[in-house]
Amino acid sequence: MFLLLPFDSLVVNLLGISLTVLFTLLLVFIIVPAIFGVSFGIRRIYMKTLLKIFRWATLRIERGAKEKNHPLYKPYVNGIIAKEPTSLEEEIKEIRRSGSGKALDAPEFELSDIFYFCRKGIETIMDDEVTKRFSAEELESWNLLSRTNYNFQYISLRLTVLWGLGVLIRYCFLLPLRIALAFTGISLLVVGTSVVGYLPSGRWKEFLSKHVHLMCYRICVRALTAIITYHDQENRPQNGGICVANHTSPIDVIILASDGYYAMVGQIHGGLMGVIQRAVVKACPHVWFERSEVKDRHLVAKRLTEHVQDKSKLPILIFPEGTCINNTSVMMFKKGSFEIGATVYPVAIKYDPQFGDAFWNSSKYGMVTYLLRMMTSWAIVCSVWYLPPMTREPEEDAVQFANRVKSAIARQGGLVDLLWDGGLKREKVKDAFKEEQQKLYSKTIVGNHKDRSRS
């Protein structure tokens, strides 16, 4: 017994030291490449291995369900109802033709017209395009995270062990590592930019500022184990332009800023965010607004215009949707950024939800919970496409220009292009849309000219 005591403390000490050394080595191993912007490709190997494991896990679940003869819960990627894409006019004509047997397609009201609106209404209650964009995308195969499992009753022992192992790795190994990296990244950013802020303006200041920013964002990228593929980097935003992208989460900023040097736009927050914001603005001119100023659209537009007109200033990064969408669609772009008259550089960001869902459901999770969820997922995998720059044509107005940019981004990212306003989840829709429907319908009952029939 007595002999064990000195042994014990020796063992504990050795263990402690070796763990610390290992940890530090790991940190250095990850941070050093970040400083120089190189990568060893370890994350990609990690990604490929994970994919193989996920596929195996899904097969297991399917087998388990088959044995018990139960139907498996399959996620519906295309909505839950069978929909036929017909227009209002077509359907109403169809109904009238089949109902009354009249040969004429003359515009007239029929009692049966109501069936169209009735069915359409119930159809949207069962499944509409917008509500489902504000919850996380459903996956087709399981990725060993309990938060995405719908068929938990079919997991075999082997799968449970694998899942348990996954939990251990994610929470006990990856999470502390990631938190350490995030801490390093953020503190370096704050300290670095504050120091650079003291330098006199000039080429050195700009050079150092750019590299401090890039370096810290790269460390943050590794803190999330984000595996990003950049496409068409020759189209990267230039000075005096505006970079617009679709918005899925606050991480979008880190992903774009680790590959380019941007001026951020936003509201000044309190807390840690505020500290970071105040530090970075010392090194390079970001555009921060006080809370009261944000409501004043003219002031915002004026400051942004001033910024883009100065060709020496960095490209502005803006997310025109105004809110986080779940990355299956792109919603209406607010026209503010498109009225300024600068060159727009669209960027499409598409996440692969297999490894970790990046969507921030702000009504469900606060920021801290969200970040924790991010840091305990396997990885954040995404693709970024830099689209060729666009400018407003003389005949189009800001709204049309915004829609054109939106379509380009949706097409490139493989997202659904929706006309609805992302703010819809909190507000009610405009009457203008309702009038559109009414206009379309009235054509079917009175045609395009005045009513000629007299009863």
Partner: protein, 194 residues
């Protein structure tokens, strides 16, 4: 639709609902998920405000009337059972099922579907669509796009055509007769994907 699907045991009165509406268990679970997704404040029931928040429904001229169909007279909230009862009327009719006498009329029969549509016209539930009710529906559907005189003409003509007993209003039977050629079973059905 959230990431977590509901477990069948979480749904209250599942068996009774399946019996009454004829939906399969998978369909009921799907619709329960939808109910929860619409119930933004997680209160366990839907308010009119929750349904009015659906953009595509708000632009439907008959949107408000359809929403009212889910709520009982004077009630502010609808529970899942009331919700799915309305949706049950739009279940596709099964082929080949013969009429069994003695069984209560299924919720998705042709008659039920017709009654639902009739209800959208007949707001005071007196069993007849009067000229004023006809006008109201027309006004909802066209807004300001058509003048009132034209609408009155259209309403009167429609009632004239469908009215068989000459009382100046359309009863349910007259309504059913005027659309008897129409394939209601198909027009008023929504098929849930498997």
């Amino acid at each position: 639709m959230g990431c977590q699907s509901s477990h069948p045991s979480a749904i209250p009165e599942l068996e009774e609902i399946m019996q009454e509406t004829g939906f399969s268990q998978a369909s009921v679970v799907r619709l329960y998920d939808r109910f929860q997704a619409l119930d933004k404040e997680q209160k366990g029931s839907l308010s009119k405000y929750d349904l009015q928040g659906i953009g595509e429904l708000a632009v439907n001229p008959l949107g408000d009337r359809i929403i009212n169909a889910f709520f009982k007279e004077g009630e502010e909230l609808a529970d899942f059972r009331s919700f799915i009862r309305v949706l049950a009327r739009f279940r596709p009719v099964e082929e080949g099922k013969s009429k069994e006498t003695g069984r209560p009329e299924p919720m998705n029969s042709r008659l039920s579907k017709l009654r639902f549509a009739f209800q959208l016209y007949d707001q005071d539930s007196d069993g007849k669509i009067s000229r004023d009710e006809m006008l109201q529906v027309l006004q909802l559907m066209v807004g300001i796009q058509v003048t009132d005189e034209q609408l009155v003409c259209i309403a009167e003509r429609t009632i004239q055509e469908a009215d068989q007993d000459g009382d100046g209003a359309i009863s349910f039977e007259e309504f059913a007769t005027s659309v008897e050629k129409l394939n209601i079973e198909q027009r008023m059905s929504l098929r849930l994907l498997k």
